[in-house]
């Protein structure tokens, strides 16, 4: 007997959107205790379909046909009042973005207790007790403190767990999780997946899980739905879809999954001059505390970093969230000033170089930013984004434009892209513009900070290929910051593992990923989802 059944659901988008329907003819069932994974490219309508079940479509987006039966009742036409009772009570949802999904001005505890309050459950002290229990259950360290904390005082992973606690508060029949782990590092991700799995077993909770991480899908899914531009293109049991895909799109997706093994064929680094060498680098942040009368807090984000980057080499920097990866990268391009230590670029120390001189050196070392959205000025056209750097360094505007055209071609974009604004591109395309911008100055070194983590696998694969290709063609050196070890495996020659600001392990990629020296690295490796599946895939090939 199915708990939820969706029939011919079509969701219309408002005028001016990229297409007419966010989702079309969606058809699926969900039985109690089942985990259904929805995968597919970005913008394919995954989130909209899920939101439709909650009755929480954004303004202007409306279901125009079909039905959603929950417990034998069509909930599409349900009056708001009855929907209120379902929401949070019998169906609950975890949203994509944990950073902004919590009210910044409310304490964590209050936000959880609110769920009970909304459904008139329990007395005040009981609610508090339950909130505490839930926080403990989702594995938040020191729940007594966390319950009184504000969202900004928690890490991304902790916030995501608070969201999960909220969603689980009333033991719903259905949990909808929209990319709940995308922003998390592998260890945290593993914990959360365990938690969901536990709950399902204990409470017969059905789960709709949206993700683009196939490792995760492989680990948890009973059934899988693949979506593309608003339509379901393939559906079936996890085994069938993952191992014996039928639809070409599914096949393409699965082909694009990065592998821990095999992907990258060793390094051909003949020991040459290091283009960049880092010696004894430290970065310490000190911040006032948020609490009244509080003390100053000191964060040692990077401690005693030492390494060399050789010409044509790619180094991956991996490690859990908050381990200092980004800080290290930013110190190298001097977006932040290191506290101590030297950064030798072509033998010159740029760690403490003053403005004008630094500016001259800077074009040799460029950065690709994590978020393709926020790293492009929303009010600049692509042509401007790509040419202003070279022009600032004295290239004639005409030449810069020509070069920009070439670069766009190089990163696989049409020259017509020149006159468009960033918002007119997809995430993957935007990331390519970011890459083109970094290349526009003909740098010797590129620092890529989580350059692909926001992208879905197929686009991720494209971008990674592109980077590898460019690197080979232009003989670039690259520092690749990521928390996805599969991605690191795919592109890096050497890997640096960071933990709490320190470099704990360095070595060739194959060594670090398969025969690590430290326990920390081993725990990271163990947490990678979908390892079984990867083997199965490898076996199938």
């Amino acid at each position: 007997m199915s708990l939820l059944s969706i029939r011919d659901l079509t969701i219309a988008l408002p005028e001016g959107a990229d297409r007419d329907y966010a989702a079309q003819d969606i058809d699926f069932d969900l039985t109690p205790g089942e985990i259904l994974c929805i995968v597919g490219e970005s913008g394919s309508g995954k989130s909209m379909s899920a939101n439709a079940v909650m009755g929480l479509l954004p303004e202007g987006v409306k279901p125009v046909s079909g039905r959603i039966d929950f417990d034998g009742r069509d909930i599409l036409g349900l009056p708001e009042k009855e929907m209120l009772a379902l929401r949070g009570g019998r169906i609950s949802m975890i949203f994509q973005e944990p950073l902004s999904a919590l009210n910044p001005l409310m304490r964590i505890g209050a936000q959880i207790e609110e769920v009970f309050e909304a459904h008139g459950a329990l007395t005040r002290p009981e609610r508090h007790e339950q909130a505490l229990r839930l926080l403990t259950e989702v594995g938040i360290p020191d729940p007594q403190t966390a319950i009184r904390a504000y969202p900004f005082q928690l890490s991304g992973g902790q916030r995501q767990r608070v969201m999960i606690a909220m969603a689980l508060a009333l033991e719903p029949d259905i949990l909808i999780a929209d990319e709940p782990t995308t922003a998390l590092d592998v260890t945290t991700q593993a914990q959360i997946l365990d938690l969901i799995e536990n709950l399902r077993q204990k409470r017969q909770m059905a789960v709709i899980f949206i993700t683009h991480d196939f490792g995760v899908v492989a680990d948890i899914a009973d059934r899988v739905i693949v979506m593309q531009t608003g339509k379901i293109v393939e559906t079936g049991s996890a085994d069938k879809v993952l191992l014996r895909p039928e639809h070409p799109y599914t096949k393409a997706l699965i082909d694009a999954i990065p592998r821990l093994t095999g992907g990258h064929t060793g390094s051909k680094n003949e020991p040459s001059e290091p283009v960049l060498s880092v010696e004894g680098l430290y970065k310490t942040f000190s911040t006032g505390s948020g609490k009244l009368f509080g003390k100053r807090r000191v964060v040692e984000a990077v401690q005693d970093a030492n390494f060399q980057l050789y010409k044509g080499e790619t180094i991956g920097i991996v490690g859990e969230s908050g381990s200092g990866k980004s800080t290290l990268g930013r110190c190298l391009v001097r977006l932040i000033n290191p506290s101590k230590g030297r950064v030798l670029l072509d033998g010159e120390d740029i760690a403490h170089m003053p403005g004008a001189e630094l500016r001259e050196r800077r074009r040799r070392i460029q950065m690709i930013f994590q978020d393709p959205y926020s790293s492009l000025n929303p009010r600049s056209r692509v042509s401007c984004i790509l040419t202003e750097g070279p022009i600032a360094y004295g290239t004639a505007p005409g030449d810069a434009r020509n070069r920009a055209g070439e670069l766009l071609e190089l990163v696989g974009l049409d020259a017509s892209a020149m006159s468009r604004f960033p918002h007119e591109f997809s995430g993957g395309q935007r990331q390519r513009i970011g890459i083109a911008r970094a290349l526009a100055l003909d740098p010797a070194i590129i620092i890529a900070d989580e350059a692909v983590s926001a992208l879905d696998v197929s686009i991720q694969a494209q971008v990674l290929d592109l980077l590898a290709d460019l690197k080979a063609r232009l003989n670039l050196s690259m520092l690749f910051i990521t928390h996805d070890l599969r991605v690191a495996a795919r592109i890096c020659d050497r890997i640096i593992v960071m933990q709490k600001g320190r470099i704990v392990e360095t070595g060739p990629a194959s060594k670090v990923l398969h025969d690590p020296d430290t326990d920390y690295t081993r725990s990271l490796l163990a947490a990678i989802p979908g390892q079984e599946y990867e083997k199965a895939l490898a076996g199938a090939e």
Binding site: S100, N103, M106
Partner: protein, 323 residues
């Protein structure tokens, strides 16, 4: 926190001193002096009369000496003597301050409360005629000259309808005490406070509306809806609180500008407040009074800036106070 507040207070003292010096020169740059004005009012004067006055006021001394004398007093919190009224400036200000604080305080509370309510109401009805009415009214209040509104209010409510007294602080000579007096003052307060408040109310309305709409698009509102919270609770508990942040900034600014806004209102409604004192003092070149009022006003601005900053910390836990 205490360190932050203390630090700011210490800094404020220096800023105040600097402001005082600049104000001193600013005011002395205007043509005419208090002696000439007073002589002018007398309808006749001779050299001796003017010279006597100037000696008495200390205006015969070089400017830097006058400044020095003034500053010496000011650091001991002595704001000098009013040339014209022959009273210590501090007493004058102290006399007038309660009326102004009452008026601006009432206008402030009124504009803030009404403005926020209207803004919330408009945002809840976004796109409907209710929204249009509120928004248009707000714009109307915003764009109408204050003195025009004030006079019209008096004509309608005081002359035609006879509901409310049109001017003054209380019924003179009625001899009310206690509650009766409070009631009487309250009645007198309604028209000026409303007039003064209308303008800011309009601003708060617009700001709250925009801010509410902005915040209701944020993700955490969706989270709140997913919890099954009703619309009202969401608006109140989640949207409003966040939407109030920019309103607080503005309110801090308004609160600081206690005297400036009140000049016209106090004049039209014969309200015995500081705004009028200041305006008259400027016209009469009563230097010490002008400086005194500017000084208190500056202190007020700095104080309210500080209070706003502190309130911010309480309302928004993300904000950290840094020195």
């Amino acid at each position: 926190m205490t360190r932050f507040i203390l630090g700011r207070l210490v800094k404020s003292v220096f800023i105040l001193l600097a402001i005082l010096i600049l104000n001193f020169f600013l005011i002395h740059a205007a043509p005419g002096d208090p002696a000439a004005v007073m002589a002018g009012e007398a309808g006749a004067a001779d050299e001796k009369f003017l010279a006597d006055l100037r000696t008495k006021f200390g205006l015969d001394q070089p400017l830097y000496v006058q400044l020095w004398i003034y500053l010496k007093g000011a650091v001991q919190l002595d704001l000098g003597f009013s040339f014209r009224q022959q009273m210590p400036v501090a007493d004058l200000i102290w006399d007038r301050l309660p009326a102004t604080l009452l008026l601006t305080g009432a206008a402030f509370v009124l504009s803030l409360v009404m403005g926020v309510i209207a803004g919330v109401a408009a945002s809840a009805r976004q796109g409907t005629w209710g929204d249009t009415v509120i928004s248009t009214l707000a714009l109307l209040f915003y764009a109408t000259p204050l003195f025009w509104v004030a006079l019209m209010a008096v004509v309608v409510f005081s002359v035609w309808l006879g509901w409310l007294p049109g001017f003054g602080f209380e019924t003179i000579g009625a001899g009310y005490t206690g509650f009766a007096r409070a009631l009487d003052i309250g009645k007198h307060l309604i028209l000026p406070a409303t007039t003064l408040g209308l303008f800011f109310m309009a601003i708060y309305t617009r700001m709250t509306r925009a801010s509410m709409l902005e915040v209701s698009r944020l993700d955490f509102v969706k989270t709140a809806r997913a919890k099954g919270l009703s619309r009202g609770v969401i608006q109140r508990r989640h949207v409003l609180r966040n939407a109030l942040l920019p309103v607080i900034t503005l309110a801090g600014l308004q609160a600081g500008q206690v005297f400036g806004g009140a000049v016209l209102t106090e004049t039209v409604f014969a309200w015995p407040g500081i705004g009028r004192l200041m305006f008259e003092a400027i016209n009469q070149r009563d230097y010490n009074v002008i400086l005194g009022v500017f000084f208190v006003s500056a202190a007020m601005v700095l104080l309210f800036n500080l209070i706003t900053d502190v309130i911010y910390v309480f309302v928004d836990p993300r904000i950290r106070l840094t020195e």
